[in-house]
Subunit: 367 residues, 4 copies
């Protein structure tokens, strides 16, 4: 369901997964859903979908459908995921998970009741360099973590002509970069460091009016923040600093993190996603420094399935990695992470941040 940017990235993943990997199940691209029949037909022809449908609910009733991939705007996730679960279909759901914790909880309840596999597509978790960071942490190379810094900086709203699209309206997007980009940053923080104990957030609107998407001679109100800065603390005592913005001129998809621990440190930048910077305190003191690891070796997760060392992979490959694990989970009836539990945990942080953005107070995340 959904056939634009994310629809393409997802369709590509389903096509590529059996070429480079050996999932336990082979996906069949049976039906693609959308609203506009003409563009949907062209999309299906291009990507190899066998059928199209404009009524997604009817598709859920079909016996020949085992899994549903939801790649629609945020506000549609809950309705679709719940219906899919009730129909007994496994769910592969694009992020941000939902508009609220309560929506997310309903999604999880439906999934658990149905016993389906549920996956939330925070694709960066399956970037080989991010998995290398995880491996270093799990190996004890970083030790007690003192600092997490996650920044996700884009610049597409600097242009005053950018229209008031669905990402700028509360009803469809819930929030601005806090939801869209912050959900990624929070997910990686939880994946690599742990759960949050407390958060605060400061938001800002740099521009409050924009031309309407449907009629650029008129303008409307931007309903979400333009940037959101958070600080917080993890339950393990580490400090968090998170920055999300759509106003960082010169930054395109600048998703970065820094982790400083007692024994070592790590930094990463999505725009240079095949590399990881690692500082080991175990190196001899006259010859220590951040190492520029090119994460393209057979020894690294997933990436050995592609090309020889030094031949980099791109943005879309993380989706293929997710596809293989999702398919394996469907075959085994198992779990795949992140899932709807992670979605709820992430939303709790974002909701607390949103509350802090309004009140100006720190918000505790009682477990």
């Amino acid at each position: 369901m959904g056939h634009r940017f994310m629809g393409r990235a997802h369709s590509n993943a389903w096509n590529q997964v059996t070429k480079f990997f050996d999932p336990a199940l082979k996906p069949v691209l049976q039906v693609v859903c959308g609203r506009d029949e003409e563009s949907l037909r062209a999309f299906a022809d291009r990507w190899g979908w066998e059928e199209i449908a404009t009524d997604w609910r009817s598709v859920l009733q079909r016996d020949d459908i085992d899994a549903v991939d939801i790649a629609t705007p945020t506000h549609l996730h809950a309705e679709m995921a719940i219906a899919a679960a009730e129909a007994g279909k496994h769910v592969f759901c694009e992020k941000p998970f939902a508009r609220s914790v309560s929506e997310g909880q309903a999604m999880l309840a439906a999934a658990e009741k149905a016993g389906i596999v549920h996956y939330l597509n925070h694709n960066y978790r399956r970037c080989p360099a991010v998995l290398m960071a995880k491996r270093l942490i799990d190996d004890g190379e970083i030790g007690e973590i003192y600092h997490w810094r996650g920044a996700y900086q884009q610049s597409w709203l600097v242009n005053p002509q950018h229209p008031l699209d669905w990402k700028l309206r509360k009803a469809t997007a819930q929030a601005g970069p806090l939801w869209d980009l912050g959900s990624h940053a929070v997910d990686l923080a939880r994946f690599l460091v742990g759960e949050f104990r407390e958060i605060d957030c400061r938001g800002k609107q740099f521009r409050s009016e924009r031309p309407l998407a449907e009629d650029s001679s008129k303008s409307g109100q931007v309903e979400v923040e333009c940037a959101a800065l958070m600080t917080g603390e993890f339950t393990n005592g580490a400090l968090a600093s998170i920055e999300t913005t759509r106003y960082a001129t010169g930054r395109l998809n600048h998703h970065t993190f820094e982790i400083y621990g007692r024994k070592g440190s790590i930094t990463w930048d999505m725009e240079d996603m095949n590399r990881l910077q690692f500082y080991s305190g175990k190196d001899l003191p006259d010859r220590c420094g951040f190492r520029d690891i090119i994460v393209t070796d057979r020894l690294h997760d997933y990436v050995g399935a592609w090309w020889p060392p030094g031949h980099i992979i791109g943005y879309e490959h993380g989706f293929v990695h997710a596809a293989v694990d999702f398919l394996d989970a469907c075959a085994a009836g198992g779990v795949v992470s992140p899932d709807f539990h992670d979605g709820i945990a992430g939303l709790k942080v974002l909701e607390a941040a949103a509350e802090s953005m309004k009140s100006g107070w720190r918000v505790s995340l009682a477990s």
Copy 2:
């Protein structure tokens, strides 16, 4: 023809090209050829080839084949390309072009006699950052070029256990990194700077014996150089420095170039292939410096067909870009570059370098 590393990269290109681009012809993956039926069958199943064949010559006689993709070791290129041309098939040929200029000339003669489309797959020409370099040069941003430096550094032979494979034997590979890596470096030099007037080359064997691939308890003689350093001059007066090696510890696929011109300069590194460094002498003198251009915009060649700005592409995407242009040329009966003319021009430089490597003299490339 050929189904290992290059077979995968090529098959992927034929699959992906219609997803992200709109070539004038849609490729049908009809027959894949190879020697081992079992592995070939598995390969065909994985990549969507409809049939397999172990006798490539018989395939060339089929009427339902319009084009042939040659992804075999170097020494097979001439025989296959000539037979394909004689059968009236368009040819997409992997590099290095051939073992010698005379082999290449026979290939070109056959291709021209048959009036087919012939393409030589120097894939780096279609890396968007390389095309951005070309655009800057063509726009006059670099001006008269003083220096070209091309280096292609790998490290896979540092391991003394690496066996004596086909790339280390003269009969199959003709030469070592001079042919394998040097053909790329020379192709980019010709693409971006111009024709060579003179070349000299110094080669070196760091290790002369290696275990046999077929029986590692025995060893055999390495028949090609381990590294080759060239200097030369272009017909337009620019100096060239070219380095190719398989003994650069820490370098995986470190293919770089530097261009210094009167008005500006450019540097590029394949391991960071989505970026181009550009120095413009037109910038105000207190604020000039090498710019780190992230070549992922709709305005850049090919890359806009993939993902939004800042979402990088990987190694295999250049093959897809080649596929679209090859298909368009087949439809139009036109030409696509680089072609066999380029192959011959490149081989002339490599043969002159090989001669210099033996004699120790500078070799002139009279036109």
Copy 3:
């Protein structure tokens, strides 16, 4: 006054200033003050001070002293600066300015009453690359500023054996990295962006006990924070993110900033202090990117007085640049920035941050 790390950096500045610059007054290194006569004598001999004194108050009464350089721990600044001003001496004062706004106000009052030149040594303002950033902002190359990020990351407290020195006690240092490093970050923020409207701060102690400096078999309580994270807003609407820490493994003196504006962006890193990264939105859209400006040209501030372009300067050179401006101000009876006004303005931000660190609330900086 003071003859350790800062004493050396300051003495060097007074020696070097007349070699590379032409200040309106030539400094005479008349008396150096300290507590331990023996080490003070050695220091004076090494650096060319003509006399030593252990009673700094008596020195202030001498007629042959025109200016006083205060390079002592923070808690001594106010007493010394006020006495110096009352004695009619110009004051060159090391940072952090003082323990509190009220101390600072007393210092300023004394200075203004006496009509002396007062300078506060935030040395990074005179790093040529920082001045280049200022020039770009003043030239309108950045436009309306959306984001300021200042981070000052060190790692010397990661070692659990580091003793409880004066920088870890409240009475001498007032606070931890908030005061020591944050004063620099806030000063650069004020220099480059403007005044703060609001601030909040989150502090953390990662280790609360350390061996005593005087007896390492005993331990005592760390009285200051180990790290402090701030977010805030400037009066011009820009957002601020500031991070200071002594627990960033692998970072030595990692003082960085990022500025994102409507027309362009800037980043800088003190560990690579001769360079500035500048993104100009005016560059053609297919060839824009962060430029790596090597700030070593005659056209750049101060640095042309040293060596030819490309020959970098080091940490201590900023102190020399401060010395020349201070001497010129003494000659002219003028002002030099930053001065005690800036010291107070900076302390207001730090005091508000300290208050927020305790209360958890955002603190407004009413003017």
Copy 4:
């Protein structure tokens, strides 16, 4: 002797050496020599030279002079150094050593006959990062060396208005970048890798006429090459690639090297001189990469005498490091490297390269 760029760098070194180090002898800046009395007087006043002299020969006869610092153009080195040696003065000589091997041999003969300390100022040998490279090699971290690449790229001749100064005339400079920059590159190659067995060189003039320095309305012939590219081989079997140019737009003082060995690799860039990139093959294979070592620690050579870790030093500091070793050698009657033996060894390589540049043949360096 000599009081311009190098005169300043040398005078600074003699002033600074006793501040930051404890040489066995304290230098007294007794007499500075030059041709123009007026500018010489100003120079002496600024830098603390006690006397000036326009007849350097007479100064050599004085008993109160122990050592002579030669910072003049190349063609004057031999005459001055020989006279100084004959007068029994220790000699600190700026590079390039001399115009020819035979000049250099006469210099060495005089020095050895007199039993003086002789030092040749290849200042980059005492850059802490270069010494760290030497330490890694000596520790066996690199192993058998396969490749040395040294490049020294500047751009000051790209400007067609740059006049025909002494560096562009054969009588005063002997050669172009081959001598000026190549002497540095060859010295580092010899310091870090070993002696050369064979060399070849390709030179080029990009512009043959330039305005006269004395009358810019007239022009004259450039008598030296604009760029020189060398390849060669060391006696230990490593390959060498050396590039020197004054036409690399965007490069100011871009002096770099790359060393690839069996166990590890190193790269360095003078424009970022406080860092060294080190790849260790001993790191675990999934986490190896080039380490960015910030060479500013107490454990590193020389640099601990300056500032705390992370506080970088600049171009001139290498001269101070040379001064301390020269003074210690004078006190002990010992040797300091590089010395005139190194000067001759370097000139043998440069003369062979110059011969190759003319003949187009490889030139053997028989020992």
